[in-house]
């Protein structure tokens, strides 16, 4: 594989909330390769958004990187302190598309002007040239009548069109890495499909590296080359999209897949994960998922597992992969995914 474009090592992120310290990211490591699409999945509070917000300095004011490194273009982003430094990265190198297109745009400014602003700021074009480029980009993201749309306000756009505008603004700077934080959650399925298609085409055209943050495993299956599963501030399993869907190894990944209604059998109860995610205000001993894990071993409550290699691209953080561990069969839904995979292979 190529050299990673961005490399996160042992990242710890903490927040101070009313005098208490919350550890949102507990030692996450991740490589991002140029041109790929990585999906980060997990429940709310798992730290998906926080992890990516450390890459462009968008952590809330009460949060900080406690230790670890984020290497990007020879610089350690974890050491960045000033807004000045971040301005060299944010938007131009690493950009973000947010969930809610209703709040991401300025309601008092012409849509075209908002796109033009970014072009003037990041590409050094001005006046008529910048305007022309803005109109080009509007049509590039699939909005008809670009010229007319340039002179409209956000309220004259539908939800899907607004998300297109937000995407237009981010691609205007031609960033190396584009982080899409639940980009389609607020949209209807038919619009969602169009937006995913649009992002995919822009990626092909511009060679952008994409990071999707989502809890929708259907979207993951659609877009991702590789998947990282997060739980309680840690990455607990990562691999290619096929490895994660057809040969998952971590009990949490099993549980996530088993609880999907799409894969459930009608009339039978769906698998549901017992209990709630751990309290991140206190130190977690052992494996964070152990209390909810029906396959937990004694050691899970004492010592956190290391990553075990499943294949050169597939790693999982569970003691079940230790050679001394008892053999545990994955749940039925995971097994049926496996056998389906074999059917296709033939």
């Amino acid at each position: 594989m190529d050299e990673p474009i961005l490399s996160v090592r042992d990242l710890v992120v903490k927040f101070s909330l009313r005098g208490d310290i919350l550890t949102a990211i507990r030692g996450a490591s991740l490589d991002l390769y140029p041109g790929e699409t990585l999906a980060i999945v997990g429940e709310s509070g798992a730290g998906k958004s926080v992890l990516t917000k450390t890459w462009n300095g968008m952590l809330d004011a009460n949060g900080w990187v406690d230790s670890g490194s984020i290497m990007f273009e020879g610089k350690d982003l974890a050491k960045f302190k000033t807004e000045q430094e971040w301005l060299t990265i944010r938007g131009s190198k690493i950009a973000m598309v947010f969930q809610d297109p209703m709040t991401a745009l300025n309601p008092l400014k012409l849509v075209g002007k908002q796109i033009q602003e970014t072009i003037e700021l990041h590409q050094g074009l001005h006046g008529e040239q910048a305007k022309k480029k803005a109109i080009d980009i509007i049509s590039q993201v699939g909005i008809p009548d670009a010229e007319m749309r340039y002179h409209q306000y956000p309220h004259e756009f539908s939800g899907g069109m607004r998300q297109r505008v937000v995407i237009a603004i981010t691609v205007a700077c031609n960033p190396k890495i584009l982080i899409c934080d639940e980009p389609t959650t607020a949209l209807d399925v038919t619009i969602q499909a169009q937006i995913l298609e649009l992002i995919r085409n822009l990626q092909k055209e511009l060679g952008t590296t994409l990071v999707y943050i989502t809890h929708d495993l259907g979207v993951v299956a659609n877009v991702a080359d590789r998947v990282a599963v997060m739980y309680a501030g840690e990455i607990i399993e990562y691999g290619t999209v096929e490895e994660i869907f057809y040969d998952p190894r971590h009990p949490y990944t099993w549980a996530l897949l088993s609880s999907l209604p799409q894969l459930g059998v009608k009339g039978e109860p769906l698998y549901s994960i017992k209990g709630t995610p751990p309290n991140l205000f206190v130190e977690i001993e052992g494996d964070a998922f152990a209390p909810r894990n029906p396959h937990a071993l004694k050691i899970d409550f004492v010592k956190a597992p290391p990553f075990f290699q499943v294949s050169p691209t597939h790693y999982a953080k569970t003691w079940l992969l230790d050679p001394r561990a008892p053999k545990v069969e994955p749940p039925p839904i995971v097994k049926s995914m496996q056998s389906k995979y074999k059917e296709y292979a033939i």
Binding site: T190, G218, E242, A255, T276
Partner: protein, 325 residues
Amino acid sequence: MRQEEREVLIELDNVRVEFKGKGKKPFVAVKDVSFQIYKGETFGLVGETGSGKTTIGRAIVRINKTAAGDIFFRGKKINGVISKELDREVTRKIQMIFQDPMASLNERAKVDYIVSEGLYNIKGFKDEEDRKRKVEKALLDVGLLPEFASRFPHEFSGGQRQRIGIARALIMEPEFIIADEPISSLDVSIRAQILNLLSDLQKNKGLTYLFISHDLSVVRFIADRVAVIHKGQIVELAETEKLFSSPLHPYTRALLSAVPIPDPRIEKKKQILIYDPSCHDYSIDKPKWTEIDDGHFVLANNAEIEQYKMMLKNPVAMNNTYAML
């Protein structure tokens, strides 16, 4: 089961709901909607934002007035002007569960009050002791502890709050529950819990559900029959598996093709269909609500009915991703 033998609980007959703007032509949110919901079934209503699916639910519970058509509950007309007694019966027997448990519970009231608010309204209890017992039972039914009655909503997680929302409906001992996107704002792992709870309650209490959702995959799992609504009109209605295996209306097919499936092999190969309303030529040949196959209704004109009948005979031609699951 043959349809004639099944007891009809709710019936909508050409219902129309309008919203009036300032002096302009009224906006028609729901037009000519007709369907029946049988006792004990889960009826799924699927559509996109603004399609009118919530308005239909609200028309049934008498929040939105109907401009035309009739709504029947157990054969009695419940829209328009009705007697006080019937109004009270409807209030009791038809309950709603809402989408966002963060917004739908009164932040300043204790769970005890939130759950028994409906009882207060209809004076549905003998004395304080009776009310307490009812609250306790409702909380236990949804898997919460009776002690929770003295707490405030903010002390609960999203999944627990949705359970409170369900308890509040259950305490009225309803026959029919309208669940309006009850799991859309919940986390993946919590969704499964709430779906299981809803189907357990249905089994134990013989409830009937109208399950409103934009998520076809959830509807497929929970509903017995599904109606697809587009711009205020129901375009297709069938038993769930029939709708998913042989969708006829182009809008249903487009909607089905767009739903992401958690299986990368299928998902990466799939073709998305786009629905273009101008594909219908309704200038002379007007569309009718037609039963094309046993229990399978579609909105179509004569030419289209012929075409759909051909499609039913040659299921190969319909090749859709859901058939692969």
